[in-house]
């Protein structure tokens, strides 16, 4: 499995789980569906870019840094979109988004086939 696909899958799963934690906040329960979709999509974007980065750079440390930065960036965008609706949830969205991004960055470095290995695999 290539690293981009690994990033997409983990991004989707972790994004979904992160979004699902909104259920613990009673005020967000009516819009939980939208949160799940948005959070999953955000996770997939972070995963896609982290996976692409992991194909270029083989470094766990930099994978975590880039994943965390991407997670923070996309979480900021989501929080800013939320703010336009009059709700200020920067901390609640950006903090977990930052850590989830770091986890996705780490996983894309540790799992999946690096591009060089995929190219050297013998063909049947």
């Amino acid at each position: 499995m290539n690293k981009i696909l690994v990033g997409l899958l983990f991004g989707l799963a972790l994004g979904f789980l992160d979004g699902a934690t909104a259920w613990f906040y009673p005020e967000t329960r009516p819009v939980i569906g939208g949160i799940l979709v948005g959070s999953s999509f955000k996770g997939m974007l972070v995963g896609l870019l982290s996976g692409w980065f992991a194909r270029k750079v083989n470094s766990t440390k930099w994978g975590i840094v880039v994943g965390a930065a991407l997670g923070l960036l996309f979480a900021f965008i989501v929080a800013a979109m939320d703010a336009t609706k009059g709700q200020q949830h920067y901390l609640e969205i950006m903090f977990p988004g930052f850590v989830v991004g770091a986890i996705i960055g780490f996983l894309t470095q540790r799992m999946g086939t690096p591009r060089s290995a995929a190219l050297t695999e013998p063909r049947p």
Partner: protein, 275 residues
């Protein structure tokens, strides 16, 4: 005329020295001797380089041919063979500047370094086995670690050699599985006193008295050492649950820390909203 003991000893020594006249080699000093012959340090006048010159009985004529067939980075290459005027055989090999494994281990290298040496030995052995050759006398004295960390296995097997007791398999006829036994003994020898149980288990499996219960090949032995080094479970040891958990923890420490950070952030945010 009476000759003193020291003069007699000297004469015996000189008489035993190989007559290298007619060859391109000039004897310099003795490096070591064993049941299979004597190894000298010699100068190759033609190429102006030092070589290890081994002089063996003609009955062991197969040895240089055996080694010459084994071209591998972990096996000392043979440059040339010939016959001395007294009928004994000699062969010139690469002279390794370094230490024997027993001397090397005495310097207390790190565990990773010890395992690197054992792995290089196992690789050479796996290669030799794939070419149908068996060592038969693998022991620390037959492994050299070069100045730059290169590892060489020497004194490749001759039928006449019966092996060295501490490293010799108990079975009567020595084959590949006997080499696996010696490899296990070599690993146990190279390990420090307080070694991880997984490594001791690998050595114990390789040294099983029943040849069929040992590793099936040197490669299988190598694979188990690699598994240990990668933090995976080894084939030789069914580890207890707490040990498995600890290994999982140390292997996935970064991921566990990240997950803990996520849980911490979530808890913090959840309780902070009450204020």
């Amino acid at each position: 005329m009476d000759l003193s003991d020291s003069v007699l000893d000297h004469l015996r020594h000189v008489a035993a020295l190989p007559d290298l006249s007619g060859t391109r080699y000039e004897l310099e000093s003795e490096i070591g001797r064993g049941g299979m012959g004597v190894v000298y340090r010699a100068l190759d006048r033609q190429l102006d380089r030092r070589v290890a010159l081994k002089v063996v009985d003609s009955a062991l004529a197969g040895e240089p041919r055996l080694i010459a067939r084994l071209e591998h980075p972990g096996i000392v290459p043979v440059y040339e063979t010939g016959t001395l005027p007294d009928g004994r055989l000699f062969y010139a090999m690469k002279l390794i500047a370094g230490a024997r494994l027993d001397h090397y281990v005495a310097r207390s290298p790190s565990l990773a370094e010890r395992l690197r040496v054992v792995r290089r030995v196992a690789e050479a052995l796996a290669f030799a086995h794939s070419r149908g050759a068996v060592h038969r006398d693998l022991k620390p004295q037959n492994v050299m670690v070069g100045e730059f960390g290169e590892v060489y296995v020497m004194d490749w097997g001759v039928e006449a050699v019966a092996g060295t007791p501490a490293f010799r398999a108990p079975e009567a006829s020595l084959d590949r599985r006997s080499d696996i036994y010696a490899l296990g003994a070599l690993l146990r020898f190279a390990l420090p006193a307080s070694s991880p149980p997984a490594l001791l288990a690998i050595a114990a499996k390789a040294m099983n008295l029943d040849p069929a219960a040992r590793y099936s090949s040197a490669q299988a032995f190598l694979d188990d050492i690699e598994r240990f080094q990668e933090g995976l479970a080894v084939e030789a040891w069914s580890e207890p649950l707490w040990h498995r958990l600890r290994r999982f923890g140390s292997r996935n420490a970064v991921l566990l820390w990240l997950l803990a950070a996520y849980a911490g952030v979530k808890f913090l945010l959840f309780f902070l909203r009450s204020f």
